[in-house]
Amino acid sequence: MGKILEIENVSAGYGEEIVLKDVNLVINDNDFIGIIGPNGGGKTTLLRLIIGLIRPYRGSVKFFDDSRERSGGSIGYLPQISHTDPRFPISVIDVVLSGLMSKEGLFSRYPARLKRRAEELLNRLGIEDLKKKNIGELSGGQLQRVYLCRAIISSPRLLMLDEPSTFVDTMFETDFYGILKQLNRDMAIIVVSHDVGTISWYVKTIACVNRNLHYHPSNVITQEQLAAYNCPIQIITHGDIPHTVLEMHKHPK
C-alpha cells in the first residue's frame, strides 16, 4: 500500500483570512475518506489545496509515487455540478475527454482509442446513449455521472468528490455509491460533504475539518467525538441496524 499524498503542517486561506491551520493528513492507496465539517470550516479549502487550485501559506502538500516525491499527483476531480454554464455548447463525449487534458497535451488530436475508452466509461455508468447530447439536455444525476467519467478516464490514483450528494437524483444515489465502492479497488477516494449521515455508511474513515483537522480512523463517529473534534454538525449513532439520527431541526413547510 503506497502513500499518495502527505499534507504537513499546512495553513491556508484567502487574502488575510486563515481558513485552515496546522493541518496534517496522509492519504494512502485504497483509502476512502469522508471529509466532514460545518460550512465555512475549510472543507472546500482543503479540497482546493489537494487538487492544486491554491497554495498553502505554510507547510507542504507532497505527492508520492513509489515512495518517491513527485511534483504533481494523478488526481481525478468531480466538482459540484452547479459551477459550469449549462448552456455551454459542448457534448457529453467531449466533457469526458476533457479529463485527459493533462495527459494528452495541448494539441487537438485525440486518438480513436481514447474515444472508445470514453464510450466504455459512459457505458459502464449506463449513459452511453447520451454521448452526443449537449450537457444542457441532461438531468442533474446524468450530469454527475458524466463528470464522474471525466474524473476517472485518466485512471487517477486519487479521486476527489465535492458534495456529490447535492445533485444526485435519489434513484441514482445508491447506484452511485456502489460505483464508488467498485472504483475504490483501484483508487483512493476522498468525499467532501456536509452530510455525515449519507457518507458515513460507505466511507472507511472520516476526517473532521473545522479550521483544524481531526482524523478519525473509522466510519462511525459519536456525538462526543464530534464535540471533541470541535465539529458542530449533524450526528450519527449506530446499533444493530445502521441508521442515522439527526439533531432536531425544522423542516420548511
Binding site: 476533457s98 495541448l106 487537438s108
Partner: protein
Amino acid sequence: MTETFVELLGYRFFSNALLASFFASINCGIIGTYIVSRRLVFISGGITHTSFGGIGIGYFFGLNPIMSATIFAVLSALGIEFLAKKAEIREDSLIGIFWSFGMALGIIFIYLAPGYAPNLMGYLFGSLLTVTSLDLYMMAGLTLIVTGFFYLFYKIILFISFDQEYARTHKAPVQLINYVLIGLVAATIVLTIKVAGIILVISLLTIPQTIANLFTKDFRNIIFLSIPFAFLGAFAGLLLSYALNIPSGASIIMALVLTFIAAKLLSIVINHIKVRKAVSGNKENK
C-alpha cells in the same frame, strides 16, 4: 443598379469588399462562437468602443487608423483581462472605464487633428466599399492566425472555455490561452470595423452564432454554420449598401436580423415536426 453582378466584380472596390466580407466572416464566425459560448459579449462591446481611441491616435499622428486601433485594442483587451485578475476591480466596472476612456481619447484626438476627419462615419458605421489592399492583407493575416490557432488547439480551447477551474486542476495553461484569445477577439473586432463599423461590429460576432445555435448545440458546428451565415449577411448587406448608398454596417445588420427571424421560424417548424414524429413513433411502438 443597372450593372450585372459579373460587371460589378470587375470593379476593384467591389471585389475588395467581397474579399473583406469573406475574411471577416471566417474571423467573426470562429471568434464570435468563442465570445457567445463564454458570454463575453459585454467585454467585446467594451473592446470595440475602446478601439475608437486607437483610431483617434491614428488620425492625429497620421498613421493608418486601423493599424493603430488594432494595437490599441489588443493592449486594452489584455489590460482588462490582467487588471480584472490582479487589481481586484470588478470586470464589468473595468470594461465601463475602458469603454468610455477609449471613446473620449478618440474624440479628443480627432478634434485636435489638423483639418477635418474624412471617413469618420465609415469607421463608425462601416464602409465595405472603401476597403483598401492593406486592410485586406491585415484581415487575411488574421484569418490565417485565427484558423491556425483554433485548428491546432481546438480541444484545449474548448475545455478551458467550458470549465476553467477544472482545466486549472489539470495544469492547463488557462491564463495564457485566455490572453491569446482575448487578444484575438480585439484584433478580430478592429479588423472587422471596415465591414460593419465600431457601433455595429458586435452584430457579426453574435447574430450568426445565435442563428447557428438554433440548429446545433456543438461548439465546432456553431463555428462551421455561423461562417456561411455571417457571409450571407455581409454579402446581402454589401449589395444593399451599394444599391442604396447606405453604410454597410447598417445594411448587414438588417440582412442578419431578417435571416435570424427566418431561421427562428424555420427552427420552430423543424422542432414541431420532430415532436410530432416522436409522438407518433411512440404510438406505433405501443
